[in-house]
């Protein structure tokens, strides 16, 4: 039985874009029609062709000259996305922005994704935000949070030039998302590059200062439920330090083992943002095909995620 599939394209043939090919390919609601980049000799475009997908080295023009694409994953750069966003909007194509450009609202799939999908552009914030905001949100639905702090540790090998030259932006946008989506009154986001060999798996430490009365069991259950929701689209997500109160704050630590599609498994940081982007695209696809939502039980469960 073939699900109705949404025609999509990937823009950007670097590590993120290439890894996305595998994840989009695995999703039965998405139909990958094109992988577009600007470097005809790139490994990413070669990989796409090897897997049997059409490619273009004309960048966004390669997408705009077609009439079938309904959604684009933009895995290029913040500067490039600022150029792409209005063009995609004008063409009526939904953009999922994996850069720090943040033209549209920020989305964390298991936190603020709704069944309706009415915006032309959504931003995936950052890998650390995708990994930590669900936990912070899980606590804030039990008790108000006065302060949340996250420490993202990534292996040096998985932090490319883009990350290294945008550390300041990373901390600012993640801090803001901890407040806006996580529910904390104040927040701090810290990033640490770890050069250990073999490369470490992406980890995040999360500290939350609750403001009010609560039952620790309720908090743990809320977190456990959230972790299960996350694992539905990021199977490699797991707690490494179970939530506990340390004085005035909760301590939680998580790690993300990547699927190892294109990037090595230690690059869970890139994996989680890609998995989240695909989850958003799938939600959009399902919102367009409502008959399919009631036809299969799996579809019902995914609408219950919000």
């Amino acid at each position: 039985m073939a699900d109705a599939q949404l025609p999509v394209a990937i823009l950007g043939s670097g590590n993120i874009g290439t890894d996305l090919i595998f994840k989009v390919r695995r999703n039965s609601h998405l139909d990958l029609r094109l992988v577009a980049g600007i470097d005809p000799a790139s490994e990413g475009l070669a990989k796409a062709r090897e897997l049997g997908f059409e490619t273009s080295s004309d960048g966004i023009d390669g997408i705009l000259k077609r009439s079938d694409i309904r959604l684009v994953f933009d895995a290029t750069s913040a500067r490039a996305h600022l150029h792409h966003a209005p063009l995609l909007k004008e063409a009526g194509i939904v953009a999922i922005d994996l850069t720090p450009a943040k033209v549209g609202p920020s989305v964390v799939p298991c936190v603020n994704m709704s069944p309706e999908f009415s915006v032309p552009n959504v931003n995936m914030i950052s890998c650390a935000a995708q990994a930590t905001i669900p936990i912070v949100h899980a606590i804030s639905r039990v008790v108000p949070i006065s302060y949340a702090e996250i420490v993202a540790t990534v292996s040096s090998l998985s932090a490319g030039p883009g990350t290294r030259q945008n550390i300041d932006e990373f901390t600012r946008t993640t801090t803001k998302a901890l407040i806006d989506l996580g529910g904390a009154r104040q927040a701090k986001a810290i990033v640490v590059l770890n050069p250990a060999e073999p490369p470490i798996i992406m980890r995040n430490a999360i500290y939350v200062v609750p403001d009010g009365d609560f039952d620790e069991t309720d908090v743990r259950q809320s977190i456990a439920a959230m972790v299960a929701d996350l694992q539905a689209y990021v199977p490699g997500y797991r707690l490494t330090v179970e939530p506990f109160m340390n004085g005035d704050h909760f301590v939680v630590a998580i790690e993300v083992v990547g699927a190892g599609d294109f990037l090595p498994t230690y690059s869970g940081n890139l994996d989680i943002i890609n998995a989240a982007a695909v989850a958003v695209a799938e939600r959009f696809a399902l919102s367009l095909f409502p008959m399919k939502m009631w036809a299969t039980p799996q579809a019902n469960e995914s609408t219950a995620l919000s």
Binding site: S156, N166, P195, R203, Y207, A253
Partner: protein, 339 residues
């Protein structure tokens, strides 16, 4: 023989020893005394630098603004500096510090990650600050790699390279090798920042100077992470005895040490206890002395075994959560073995 510029880090690295609880009054009085002794650069702030107050690394007793303002108001000649770790301190933190009167920014990263500092080094230079590239844990990588990283910092605009040997793991020949390699690679001055876990801080300073280092970091009474830093007043005396020129007055620095000791009393000086020796020996970041002791006690595991495990895991700075995780693991493993 050499002309040495002294950088005192009592009021920044020393904050590690007191879990970042220095009062603005202590900062004011100590800065005044250091300035009176002729110390040219005084670094102030949380142990992990600007914006360092957090649950992860320890919450400060006072804000960056309070500490910086206390130091600025207390000195007549000395430059007040801050440590800036990208990923912890933001560029707007640095702008605010500059507005308060800070004139020195030392941009810090792990010894192999210089390209993560480019943004901050360039902006610090644009702000007109004396900008230093500060490599942390230089004992955790090779001399050749250090030289490469130092070159990058120089290309971004760093005005000297500070080599911080955070673990207190190196012996003088190791230090000489590293300073020499960096010396061959860059045209800007080199600084050295030892820790005293193996009792080698002063010896390592002399070895660094012999290979061309001209900036030296120290801390009054040796306050600092782990077994502490090179003790400023000892270093000044030893440098003068070795025939080097240091623009710090010997009796003045003794007075500063007295002022600081009185202000921080009854807190004892850092001692080279068994745990600190082991950390230096095993090459584990000195800022973890207190987290290791607390975690070992809380989870019921051996602090010695915990140090060895953290050394194997090659933890770097700002991984206090790994200390907790390994302590919990070790406690479980020990309980299983006992059962």
């Amino acid at each position: 023989m050499a002309r040495i510029k002294f950088v005192d880090v009592t009021l920044r690295d020393g904050n590690h020893t007191v879990k970042h609880q220095f009062s603005p009054e202590l900062v004011r009085d100590t800065a005044a005394a250091l300035d009176a002794a002729g110390v040219p650069i005084i670094e102030v702030g949380h142990g992990d630098g600007l914006g360092g107050s957090c649950i992860h690394a320890g919450r400060s007793a006072a804000s960056d603004q309070e500490w910086i303002s206390a130091a600025i108001g207390a000195v007549k000649r000395a430059k007040i500096g801050v440590l800036v770790a990208p990923g912890m301190a933001t560029i707007s933190d640095l702008e605010r510090a500059r507005e308060l009167g800070v004139t020195v920014a030392r941009v810090a990263c792990h010894a192999t990650e210089a390209d993560a500092t480019e943004q901050h080094v360039r902006r610090a230079r644009d702000m007109g600050l004396f900008t230093v590239g500060y490599l942390i844990s230089v004992g955790m990588t090779s001399a050749d790699r250090l030289a490469e990283e130092a070159k990058k910092l120089e290309s971004y605009g760093a005005q000297y390279i500070n080599l911080a040997e955070s673990q207190g793991h190196l012996v003088p020949t190791d230090v000489a090798q590293r300073v020499a390699a960096v010396r061959r690679a860059v045209n800007i001055p080199i600084g050295f920042h030892p820790h005293n876990n193996l009792g080698l801080a002063i010896g390592n300073i002399l070895a660094a100077i012999d290979e061309g280092a001209t900036f030296i970091d120290g801390s009054l009474k040796g306050f600092g992470g782990g077994a502490g830093n090179a003790q400023t007043e000892v270093a000044v005396a030893a440098l003068k005895r070795a025939g080097h020129e240091v623009d710090v007055d010997l009796f003045g620095i003794f007075d500063a040490a007295d002022v600081f000791a009185k202000a921080v009393a009854p807190h004892p000086m850092p001692a080279i206890d068994n745990d600190s020796i082991l950390m230096g020996y095993a090459n584990v970041y000195g800022g973890y002395v207190l987290p290791i002791k607390h975690a070992a006690k809380k989870y019921g595991c051996s602090p010695r075994e915990l140090v060895l495990r953290l050394g194997e895991r090659r933890v770097v700075a700002m991984q206090e959560d790994v200390v907790i995780e390994e302590a919990q693991k070790l406690a479980r493993d020990s309980a299983q073995q006992a059962a």
